[in-house]
Subunit: 478 residues, 2 copies
């Protein structure tokens, strides 16, 4: 390891290599606090050449490596298993180009999501994917996890907004994928790399699509007696052909936590659930759509429907929604944020079962979620130091995933698999289906040097799925 540390220091300079225990501690986990692993070192390269040299040095020393953005991920994707080296991208933080005429931006992976929004707003443009952590999370991390956000319903996830990538492959080769014009001949490897959770290489540049700012955006609040009525309103809104920018449900427990926090926005704490509906587009259309949404909410049983009176109030509502995880975090030392997706039409029954699971395990479970996408976020407040409670959290989590998959859903909508849900990939995919993915991994990283132990049930399973890779030496993860 000393040899590798010296090599890394030579590449990036000694100040950009962290290896003292107290320096490494903050890299022990990401947003998923229950899974942890200390890296051997953290290295902070400043350009693509340094990234490539760092990767090659790790390979030469037989040490795995893990690309990392801001560490806000929620599935353990950015932790270094097998004592790997963390390649932190925070110094690759420049916006290289904003091309307003062609509506694209070229950025380095360490640019913070919200910084890009600020930089392009003056051009009448915005970058659509808006994860709740957007004040901290980076565009490289967003691409690695294929992040979503409330606006996914209308605008799609990160994969719909990344046009081209520059990537250091796990063997140190630098390649460019895709094209800034939005279509590219040959295989769509941009799509395969986006969402690959840092297992196919280290991003060094992204070309992203910018969208024109809508002429008008309005936010409506439907106040409901219970979550199921709010879900019914969501179903009716979608069935009517409307495509809101966002359709979010916040349940009673989450409202209480938010209103007791710095994110307080005047949400009614006596409501069973609040439905936040964002409509954007041409001003005349938005005004009329608001009326239609209001009618659907009332028909579904809303006690009250309010529209944000001005931009300031609208932003307050959204800060409350996006701050919900932070607010929940104040209720207990730890927060487990789940992320399953079910067909929209099955939301009410699945939510009922999710709540029953939480109650049965005696857990404090709340729900704040992207209802329009069927993307659930059951949140469990707990204390990981209480091993017995942690065991109940884990058991409930597995039950929740099974219920969602049985309803025709999947185990992750926007947070990734990481270390958290790798065992559950088999709930969704057959061995043959998973094996097809493993073949892709083997094509770029047959030895699992790049972010090992993520996404797939076991490293052994993945390696054995590659007909050509059978026989590789490897260590089964604990």
């Amino acid at each position: 390891m000393q040899g590798l540390l010296a090599a890394l220091a030579e590449i990036v300079g000694p100040a950009a290599v962290l290896a003292r225990p107290e320096e490494l501690l903050v890299y022990e986990a990401d947003g998923l606090t229950v899974h942890g692993a200390l890296p051997s070192a953290v290295v902070l390269p400043s350009d693509k050449t340094e990234v490539a040299r760092v990767v090659r040095a790790c390979r030469a020393h037989g040490v795995p490596f893990v690309p990392r953005g801001a560490g806000t991920g929620l599935s353990g994707g950015a932790i270094a298993l097998e004592h790997g080296v963390v390649i932190e991208c925070s110094r690759l933080n420049r916006i290289l180009r904003i091309d307003a005429a062609n509506r694209i931006a070229v950025v380095q992976p360490g640019v913070v999501n919200a910084e890009l929004l600020k930089a392009v707003a003056g051009h009448g443009l915005f970058y659509a994917p808006d994860p709740s952590s957007q004040l901290a999370c980076t565009l490289g991390g967003n691409a690695a996890e294929n992040s979503g956000g409330p606006h996914t319903l209308k605008y799609g996830t990160t994969t719909n907004h990344v046009l081209a990538l520059e990537l250091v492959l796990p063997d140190g080769e630098i390649v460019r994928l895709g094209s800034p014009v939005g279509v590219a001949p040959g295989y769509d490897l941009v799509g395969a790399v986006v969402g690959s959770e840092g297992t196919l290489g280290v991003l060094t540049e992204l070309t992203v699509r910018l969208s024109p700012l809508p002429e008008r955006a309005d936010t409506l609040l439907g106040i409901f007696g219970d979550v199921v009525s709010a879900c019914r309103a969501v179903g009716a809104i979608i069935a009517s052909g409307l495509v809101p920018a966002a359709l979010e449900i916040v349940d009673k427990r989450t409202i209480a936590a938010v209103e007791a926090s710095v994110y307080a926005a005047g949400l009614p704490t006596d409501a069973g659930a609040v439905l936040l509906v964002e409509l954007d587009g041409p001003a005349l259309a938005v005004a009329r759509q608001l009326e239609r949404v209001r009618a659907h909410c009332l028909a579904a049983g809303a006690h009250e429907v309010a529209v944000a009176r001005d931009a300031e109030e609208r932003q307050r509502f959204w800060r409350a929604r996006k701050g919900a995880f932070g607010a929940m975090g104040r209720l207990a030392p730890d927060l487990y944020v789940h992320d399953a997706v079910v067909p929209r039409a099955r939301l009410p029954e699945v939510l009922e079962r999710v709540c029953e699971i939480g109650d049965r395990h005696g857990l404090r479970l709340s729900n704040v979620f992207h209802a329009g996408d069927g993307n659930l976020h059951p949140n469990i407040s707990f204390d990981r130091r209480d091993r017995e409670e942690l065991a109940r959290v884990t058991a409930a989590g597995e039950e929740i995933l099974r219920v969602c998959v049985e309803a025709g859903g999947v185990i992750s909508g926007e947070h990734g698999i990481g270390t958290e849900k790798r065992e559950y990939m088999r709930l969704v995919f057959s061995d043959a289906d998973l094996g097809a993915m493993c073949r892709l991994r083997a094509a770029f990283d047959p030895e699992h040097a790049c972010n090992p132990g993520k996404v797939f049930p076991t490293t052994r399973f993945c390696m054995e799925s590659d007909p050509k890779a059978r026989g590789y030496e490897h260590v089964e993860l604990a």
Copy 2:
């Protein structure tokens, strides 16, 4: 070969195996008439099990195979090089499920694009990708080529509308990729397979996204003195933040051909260019947007701006636009349809250079194209029996591609690479970039048994790009 024919006949029944020369002749080419190759046999399986068995039989006999839809492709992607077996998907033509609540349809690959539109219209839904050949082309072929169409500007290409796939891999294994809920954990292999031009396996089922029919759609015709003014209008419309469903330019020569054909729609034959603008969405917004588009057209120098008076006239305009290739086909025995993409802002200069190239080579070149996407379709009318003219067509084609790439574009927007443009992949990609794609191919088909000779410059190049595959036996293509 006789052994394979007997095996195929046993799998699908003798009537579904075609091997007589007169039966094979129609499979000699696809819509790209200048590239041809006779298959050894054509087989028409009726379900996924038969497809898998056919693939395994071909592999057992060492014969390559090529999946084929309706054969309307324009880049030679569906022809059987190396005397392969064509696997025709026309019998896999059932719509398996329409789920209006979740806005998805599950279809077999042989379903004709327009048939799906008909089937879902009653639910207030539509399938967005609308290639000009949609009355004939199939959804499997659309997925293989990642087909676009006029509505790509607002709705994206096929890849944005395919949620899940069932696929027989080149080794005969059946896998399911993606998820009907629209996001799926693990690698996005759906994205990699869509646009892979039949080189990664044979599709047997697709789950596609349906979109709500817009409340209103209007089509506006801007009549311009020349193509460059029409391009200027396109730039102004986009810069204003409007997102029309389609922005199409038809030039003078194409108008003349269309108006002399069955597709005649009353387009002004004395115009230098017509800009077709489709606006769709909420009725109030569309009405106002029409006025804004009208103003942009007039400011850019339009002589006249007309709005289709009713649905019948609107459909006539679109039939004219989509029939343009057919109409051009009447001018000469052959039509070469190019398909490059350039950054929208550079359309005027690129078009001028494209026309200059056509003139210099003494060719009848016309332009009808997706201006909003920067997707050019320079069409050359010619007679392939005239070898000297064919040589000029080829030389001009290469010059056009070089001009587009120099302008920051790519060599194909929606027609694929196939056999047609494989040599030109190097204009866009470095060997390392192409090598990354070849690794993916090698992961699924190291011996290039599935649709050999397509997409990549040479089979040898592709095989040698896979570090693990070096040393495979193979025949270099002529």
